[in-house]
């Protein structure tokens, strides 16, 4: 769940990012505006984000409060029906989206920061540093994330969204590091990087002002993939009971639907929305990513 084989092309063998000058930007906008994948993907992600942000404001009771009749199918009053105890599934869904976004942003964010930092340093510094970081990356890469997480999280006393995200972030960065490294490696040989050195610029300034902006589209795409990956991992952890002990998330909803026999009792409205929410969110992020790829990568524009 770490990584989607969506962009191996971009990640490993992919062409170096194209220069993005003023013309590129306007061209990008042009393609962005007429790229259905990008539009649909962004639309759905934003709609879900909006639901997660705004939705809870319209719900006066907490998501776990017994508000209604038990085991009700969706109705005008309870849009997604109620649980076996009469909790409003819509309320849970909306709050769940929130924490799903939180886990994604936090976990994906941490992984992104670690991954890009490692990738940049390795790709830019080269030599022994690269060698060591590369080894480190490979080691973490080979370790199966979820299994590591299970072992680690199992020993934790207090499980919250933040801790969960932290752990996810700290284990799922390696492929991003590798991708960023290979990109940085190719960008670091660009002449303007040497020129910046000759202009008396410090390494970190070169990384942040010369290299990073040139792979910004690439970085955005990495972040999106990490974001989606973090959400899926978190859902997996939640599902096996290693989720935040006292909260709502889409994964926990799925867990409790299963624990309370929603399948056997035919309460489809309990286990379909959380899974569908995750799939929709992560799926549209991936589609958005292809859209971005097509916008930024001229090779893919035709076809």
């Amino acid at each position: 769940m770490t990584n989607v084989p969506a962009t191996p092309g971009a990640a490993d063998s992919g062409a170096a990012p194209e220069p993005a000058g003023e013309r590129k930007v306007s061209e990008g906008l042009h393609f962005a505006r007429r790229n259905p994948k990008l539009l649909i993907g962004t639309g759905i992600v934003l709609a879900l984000l909006f639901t997660g942000l705004i939705g809870p404001l319209f719900i006066d009771q907490g998501p776990n409060v017994y508000v209604g009749p038990k085991s009700q199918p969706p109705s005008s009053e309870y849009w997604m029906g109620t649980t076996s105890f009469g909790q409003d599934i819509w309320a849970q869904f909306v709050y769940g989206l929130r924490s799903t976004f939180l886990v994604g942003a936090l976990g994906g964010g941490i992984a992104f920061v670690v991954g890009t930092a490692v990738g940049f340093v390795a790709g830019f510094k080269g030599g022994l540093v690269d060698e060591l970081l590369n080894m480190f990356t490979n080691v973490v890469l080979v370790l199966p994330t979820l299994v590591v997480l299970i072992v680690a999280v199992a020993y934790l006393d207090v499980r919250g969204v933040v801790v969960q995200a932290l752990f996810i972030g700290l284990t799922s960065w390696p492929w991003a590091a590798r991708a960023v490294r290979s990109q940085a490696l190719s960008l670091a040989t660009r002449d303007y990087v040497d020129l910046a050195r000759l202009s008396g610029r410090r390494t970190w300034r070169i990384i942040t002002t010369e290299i990073a902006p040139n792979m910004s589209s690439y970085l955005v795409m990495s972040f999106i993939l990490l974001f989606g990956g973090a959400i899926l991992i978190a859902a997996g952890l939640d599902f096996i009971g290693l989720g935040p002990a006292n909260g709502v998330s889409l994964g926990l909803m799925l867990e409790s639907a299963v624990a309370w026999s929603a399948l056997q009792l035919g309460m489809w409205w309990w286990f379909i929305p959380p899974g569908a929410g995750i799939t929709l969110l992560v799926g549209s992020m991936y589609i958005l990513n292809v859209g971005l790829d097509e916008v930024f990568n001229p090779k893919l524009r035709e076809l």
Binding site: Y66, F85, V258, A259, A262, Q264
Partner: protein
């Protein structure tokens, strides 16, 4: 451990000769060592090994099982005579020495070592006669042991050292009971009928299923599915939503309507008396009044359980409950009363955060812990916390890991927990022992988690232990006194009776115990065969 057996075979066990059960085992069977309480495969004790006595909670009497008769020759001497002509499943006769050996194993480190605190000696005074002498007369506790512990064959167990006792998985159990080991796999334990069982003749019990396949508990939805597909005959696990499937025809439980299940134990709200304000009886009372049990029973449990009596004693122990006293001193859900109680005792909101503070003005912030993953309890804890907040007590539900909770609970590092460690037994002494046992230790591993100290109550409990096993009246007299203290002091708050979860399909096997004049217990739980559940196996009938 081995997979696969020689019979059964690829064609499987004939459906009409096999009883499929589930819900008791939570892990693969790995161990058939009846001394390893709590670890052995389902049926090891009950189907393969048997105790001297059974206890019938309905009638509140002991039933002779391996023992043919018994007699207290004086207060500290118990003479037990075994039945004649019984054999172990390997053909050896069952003799007095087997009992002696079993009891003497208690001198090593086994779960029942504590009986040697009051046993003086045990002797085979005849081929089938065992005499147990006591240093201290504790018949309630002794009989509790006598019916709830298996007798093992001397010729196999006498020479085992400590290591073997605890580690030996005893893969080929040689027992006395109606079933013998057939095979096992990670997800099942298969027993086959012992056609030479002594009980067929002696008790007239003819075990119906040739095979019993006990399936390791998977998840609720798996079990629900198996029930609806008639893949399992008896399920002994809490299945949320099962009330929607029990129809009295294809799927039944003991009662046709709520609470569906018989009661098996009491879930207590345990308060830590070492901490403020739980050490204040007024606060405890207010808290007791604040809990809306009907919300819990109606909510997470969908009426599968019943609210507990204020004494916490199970319905089977009705004879020990002082109903007059309960009517007078008992409490029911009454939020206003709770508020009033708090106010009278000086608990008011002084800092204006909407929650009461101690009379000294210190804010009160309490947590109620139940193990994470215990979904029904988690839901219940949420309700309790909400109820408490409604009367102004700042109580939050928290779901730590089970082990962590146990550790904190044992060492007294908690505010409130829910606990139901004690089961139905031959005597309410087990419950009072649980509530009042003294002295307190650093670690309270099995009883008195609340660290409640009341010498008077504990003396009464000790007195109760000394009451002859069948003297209900004398016992009731003492329990009434205990209850007086209990209701006045509320050391722990009884919540609900956890059910003896049991749902049966009637497609293959019928005539399950029910309230329609067919008493008994349909369960494979450890400790319940001796309470009569094993008879159910003889009483069920093949469906037409």
């Amino acid at each position: 451990s081995s997979e696969g057996g020689d019979s059964g075979g690829s064609e499987g066990y004939p459906r009409d000769e096999t009883l499929y059960t589930t819900g008791t085992a939570w892990g693969p069977p790995v161990n058939w060592n009846p001394i390893m309480r709590g670890q052995y495969a389902v049926g090891t004790f009950g189907l393969a090994y048997e105790p001297l006595f059974h206890y019938d909670p309905e009638e509140n009497e002991y039933v002779h099982w391996l023992a043919e008769s018994d007699e207290w020759t004086d207060e500290t001497t118990h003479v037990i005579t075994l039945r004649e002509g019984m054999t172990w499943s390997d053909g050896e006769p069952i003799v007095a020495q087997d009992v002696v050996t079993t009891i003497e194993l208690g001198q090593k480190d086994v779960s029942y070592s504590n009986i040697w605190n009051f046993i003086e000696g045990v002797e085979a005074t005849g081929d089938r006669e065992v005499t147990v002498t006591f240093s201290e007369s504790r018949p309630q506790e002794w009989m509790n042991w006598a019916y709830s512990n298996p007798i093992v064959p001397d010729h196999i167990w006498a020479d085992k050292d400590q290591q073997q006792l605890t580690d030996d998985p005893n893969e080929e159990p040689v027992g006395s009971g109606p079933y013998v080991y057939e095979t096992h796999a990670d997800d099942r334990m298969v027993w086959s009928r012992n056609d030479d069982w002594w009980g067929t003749e002696a008790l007239g019990l003819e075990m119906q299923p040739t095979y019993i396949v006990d399936i390791v508990n998977a998840s609720n939805e798996v079990t629900m599915n198996m029930i609806s597909n008639n893949e399992v005959d008896l399920s002994n696990n809490f299945l949320p939503g099962i009330d929607q499937m029990i129809d009295g025809q294809a799927i039944t439980s003991y009662y046709d309507g709520p609470p569906y299940m018989q009661s098996a134990n009491t879930a207590w709200l345990v308060l830590n008396h070492d901490r403020e304000p739980m050490n204040d009886v007024e606060f405890r009372k207010a808290l007791a009044h604040s809990v809306d049990m009907s919300a819990i029973i109606d909510g997470p449990y969908s009426n599968l359980v019943e609210a507990a009596n204020p004494t916490g004693l199970l319905p089977q122990w009705d004879a020990y409950i002082d109903h007059e006293l309960v009517a007078e001193e008992g409490y029911t859900y009454n939020a206003d009363e709770a508020v009033a109680l708090l106010e009278d005792a000086g608990y008011t909101d002084q800092d204006g955060d909407g929650f009461i503070d101690t009379p000294d003005g210190d804010p009160i912030e309490l947590t109620l812990q139940v193990p994470s993953g215990w979904t029904d309890w988690m839901e219940a804890a949420r309700v309790i916390a909400e109820n408490a907040q409604e009367v102004g007590i700042n109580l939050e539900a928290e779901f730590p890991d089970h082990d962590l909770l146990v550790e904190d609970r044992n060492s007294g590092e908690y505010d409130l927990v829910v606990n139901n460690d004690r089961q139905l037994s031959n005597t309410p002494w087990t419950y009072y022992d649980y509530l009042f046992q003294l002295p307190l230790r650093d670690q309270q591993t099995t009883v008195n988690f609340g660290r409640y100290e009341n010498e008077e109550a504990w003396d009464l409990v000790e007195e109760l232990a000394a009451v002859p096993a069948d003297d209900v009246e004398a016992a009731a007299e003492i329990t009434s006194k205990i209850q007086e203290i209990q209701l006045a002091e509320l050391p722990a708050i009884p919540l609900w009776y956890n059910g003896l979860w049991s749902q049966q399909t009637n497609t293959t096997w019928t005539n399950w115990p029910s309230d329609q004049g067919n008493p008994g217990y349909a369960t494979m739980w450890d400790g319940w065969f001796e309470l009569g559940a094993v008879r159910t196996l003889a009483e069920i009938e093949l469906a037409e």
